[in-house]
Subunit: 335 residues, 2 copies
DNA sequence: CTGTTAGCGCTTTCAC
DNA sequence: GTGAAAGCGCTAACAG
């Protein structure tokens, strides 16, 4: 930095002010300093400036896993937005939610980040308390917490209207496939099931909820179970597209036509959903990330604000949902 | 820190040494200091210590995109390994490779990270030069560069033996679907095509290479093109599972049985490959990440070393590949 | 084995 | 509008 000062013929303080965009520097001087810095390809050390300002220029993103489609997309949204604010993104994979509390305590967040984004973590009160210890603002994504900055969708409402779509098509036997991993249900999962139950109750139809493993494997197992019933349903609403894909796969292998024999509905609008022609509830994952990043930036400026942002979902009706026995009708044609 | 010193009844230097695990501290004193630190829930500021040691405790991971399956898995491998070394992972999404050079120059890597991992970036010489400007060790993943630390698989050899699998099954008309995005071929893509060509040449069979878009969409388009030929091939080798999935989808929609009418082979062992019963070449993505992280850690200690680590691939033969016209034979049964 | 001292590279009063 | 000086929280010689 003193090299730059020498080259521009000014003092250290002036260089600092000029490069930081601080007021009180003659335009002509500022430009001279910037030129000198560029020529020496000098950039201020965030580390050093942070030491005195207290800011780190970094935001931590906590994710349970990194592999699923959802997280990649959300991270992309977050990263892009943070970059605009000239903030770096630190990613921590919390892993299977056992011992999170301890893990969170170990994490070097203390004086290492300006804010934390908890991505789809479903933390309980004690875990949140551990995060609070860090002393920086926390933004929750996909988990709605009172008195906390968070961004989310209305899972219940989305599931409700998606279920109605199936009911309106004429289905009267609709199964819901819910999944839980070793650590229990996710918050969004519970909400979606509720939405489904509400719509079914409104229509006076008996709900059928299956609980199984998560992911395609869980969907495949659930489909097997449903198909071996005395009276299989005519539609399956899967908690997520992942699960729906497992269902689709089993149906395909069994030679059961979708949607003629069985309608399948997913949730998420996964990457592959369009290719599979899967009807689904789309949630704006990338945008959720971007909003979360924005909230994090704002929270740094004003830690007192606890904005709640709800994002809209869209039911995407594709080829995997239709009225029950649409095919038989078409083929039989004698009603 | 001085609070800790007071509480433990020692000087600042002793606290620093004790907490850092530096030698020359009485065991009894060390424990006392650690206890004091714990009671005050004090952790040393990386920022401040970095200011004097020069180390940042951070590694930057540069990825072109975040969404594809590959990057999530690789990032998980990297992150886990870095955490073991008590290093933080900074993730930068470089985006569409246009203007990377400039983007890399803008990135706040300068005195902000101890090492850089370039994940599947396919940088050219000038872009690498920009990275070198940063002055920290760089580890390349999925790109093999002389005189550079890198971790990779032998794409050509893997593609060669996968092609031989198809040849050995009796196929004599095997198409390869290659994909390129707007910025051109990836390095691994070129290598895989080469492996395919070599195996075909060895067998004296004419190669058929299709170049199209990337991803499932590219696969779908390529499949359409192949199926509309006067003499469609009996097997399709897709550059990646992504592409293969597009191919599978088109075949399924067209009512063409896999593998009876058409064998399909992928590359990567994508998440969904098992569910789709897709034969493929598995590459150890998570392990590549872990190794890259290890190399990065080692490179920090010894920047002169430029280890090259080659990881093994495995051909996973599943249900999507079989001899040509296996079904006709079975059905016709009159040979 | 432990304490003292001088910075690491920057920002920030406070004078001028 | 600009400069001098005093730290931010820590480590690294150097004494003791």
């Amino acid at each position: 930095m003193s090299d730059v000062a020498d080259r521009a013929g000014v003092s250290l303080s002036t260089v600092s002010r000029a490069l930081r965009g601080a007021p009180g520097v003659a335009p002509e001087v500022r430009e001279r300093v910037q030129r000198a810095a560029a020529e020496l390809s000098y950039v201020v050390s965030r580390n050093a400036s942070g030491l005195v300002t207290g800011a780190t220029g970094r935001v931590a993103v906590l994710v349970p896993f990194l592999q699923p489609w959802f997280f990649g997309v959300a991270l992309a949204g977050i990263g892009t937005r943070l970059r605009q604010a000239d903030l770096d993104m630190l990613v921590y994979q919390v892993g299977d939610m056992r011992g999170v509390e301890e893990y969170l305590g170990e994490l070097p967040l203390r004086r290492n980040v300006d804010a934390v984004i908890a991505l789809s973590l479903d933390l309980d009160e004690r875990e949140i308390a551990v995060l609070d210890e860090v002393g920086v603002p926390v933004v929750f994504v996909s988990q709605r917490i009172p008195e906390r900055a968070s961004v989310f969708i209305d899972n219940a409402a989305a599931a409700r209207s998606a279920t109605r779509h199936l009911l309106n098509l004429g289905h009267t036997s609709i199964a819901f496939v819910q999944s839980a991993d070793s650590t229990g249900f996710e918050w969004s999962s519970a909400e979606r099931v509720n939405g489904y139950r509400e719509a079914m109750a409104e229509a006076g139809v008996r709900p059928q909820v299956l609980v199984g493993e998560s992911g395609p494997r869980g969907g495949a197992l659930a489909a097997g179970e449903l198909l071996s019933r005395a009276e299989p349903p005519t539609a399956i609403f899967a908690e997520s597209d992942d699960v729906a894909m497992g269902v689709l796969r089993v149906l395909q292998r069994s030679g059961l036509a979708v949607p003629e024999v069985m309608s399948v509905l997913g949730f998420d609008n996964h990457d592959m959903a369009e290719l599979l022609d899967l009807s689904t509830v789309a949630q704006p994952v990338s945008e959720m990330g971007a909003v979360a990043a924005r909230l994090a930036v704002e929270a740094v400026a004003d830690p007192a604000a606890v904005p709640h942002v709800e994002l809209a979902t869209n039911l995407l009706v594709r080829g995997s949902t239709a009225g029950p026995r649409a095919a038989s009708r078409l083929v039989g044609g004698n009603e």
